[in-house]
Symmetry: C2
Amino acid sequence: MLAMLPVLVVHGGAGNVPRQRAELSCAGVREAARAGYALLRSGRSAMDAVVEAVTLLENNPAFNAGCGSVLNEHGGVEMDALVMDGRTLASGAVSAVRRIANPVQLARLVMEKTQHLCLTAEGASKFARAVGVPEVPEETLITDYARKRWQRNLQPGSNPVECQMGKMGTVGAVAVDSEGNVACATSTGGMLNKMEGRVGDTPCVGCGGYADNLLGAVSPTGHGEAIMKVTLSRLILFYMEQGKTAADASDQALAYMWERVQGLAGVVVVDPRGGWAARFNSLQMAWAAAQNGQLHYGLGKGEDFTLPLQ
Amino acid sequence: MLAMLPVLVVHGGAGNVPRQRAELSCAGVREAARAGYALLRSGRSAMDAVVEAVTLLENNPAFNAGCGSVLNEHGGVEMDALVMDGRTLASGAVSAVRRIANPVQLARLVMEKTQHLCLTAEGASKFARAVGVPEVPEETLITDYARKRWQRNLQPGSNPVECQMGKMGTVGAVAVDSEGNVACATSTGGMLNKMEGRVGDTPCVGCGGYADNLLGAVSPTGHGEAIMKVTLSRLILFYMEQGKTAADASDQALAYMWERVQGLAGVVVVDPRGGWAARFNSLQMAWAAAQNGQLHYGLGKGEDFTLPLQ
């Protein structure tokens, strides 16, 4: 019998991954999917699983989140993250937070320990100190690769937006646990050479993620401003509410975003019964999905490789 | 013949306005609606009109935005604002910005002068300096009334959330200009005695406002965290897309928000043909609407007073 639940799907960013980084990206998303799925199999919640998967992706320097984040115009790291719990619609977010190893965990603490949904910048840092989340030296979040790309984009005539889409993006995860609860988590270093204080789609509920036990969960990646203009995550769930599958709803929403605002992005999506999708209108998106003892993964259009899960 | 366009609707916050402030609130929203409508009648855009109306409400100390903003836990003023242009889905926002007289104008400048959609905290302040928006002393934004309420809520046993809903809120405006373009603007001092860095629904596209020439425009007010959990503004426009009137869509979305997360809020809404609504599930919301030479306004349930516009 096919066990649809639990299921977990992760992404490591939409864009055009350079060949030398493609294997690192694919290995990273496979590892994150395995780890999150193992938690689900041991009976832990969808929220636990998506936070665990995104924590691993943040810790992996191959991705633009946590260690490996892109640098802003001043060469600094400012990160955004969001979690949402489909049981209660509770959500937590941080925006433009600095010197935190795992913004996704801080976002979860905002959800659990405050009356608020989002804390930004220095206020988020003060909250982190108050709840005992250690501050890390900024240098520990910066890779040589990120610094080189930052420097290149300081040159006249450079185009950080295009460069961003040509490389790697935001990370995220969605899951349904054995009890049918859904959750999403998204984390990012944002846009390459962004202005100080720029906040993208990630910490914005309905844009950088959404989770509702009645509908499903979405985590997107791609051009944040385009994702926000169409509230991409909530849009996909509206299409699913109208009867579309996760894959069809994703394709329809991505096509709509392209038509209205010429945006490129990708998404991972689950429905409460365990249907899932990993779709993108960018050239590539590193993704992996774990369900029913199998690990699916891919990077280019139409790819769906499978491996057995131990 | 009935001229449906142009139309402008403003709100001055949902809650339970104390009697001594009720007339101030009603006079303020009437003045803002008149001013925004005058621009529309002179051929200016919906975006110009909503920014003008919200600027007046920010400058009016009777409202929780600009001068008159509520104070955070440290007695400081941190403000959020959003604008959205229904022609292009372009949007601009600022979050947790300090020492700015008119955050709504700064949000518009983010939309017009940057590649980004939202700037937060110190980054937003630096952008303001770069584009010549003057910094104002924080004292000029703080009223005696705001300081008294802040002090009262520092007492043990106080409940700032309840106190907030018992008083006054966020301000906002929606409009359709003579060419059928829609826009929204929202501005707020946020939640009374909030944590430093707390970001509410206002700067979050789809939550604190949405505008799309194909659907209409929404500006909400009320409990920000509840508004975010259901992406209230985008939800109302989905219901309108499915054929509901602005009023019915608003009532359905507010009822849904109450049922799912027990949230209290209010909204002003327009559709592209000039249909409009001002609806709330809180006890009161100060609102005013200008259309076809008439000014409508109200505060309590079912109120719809009219005055001729010169």
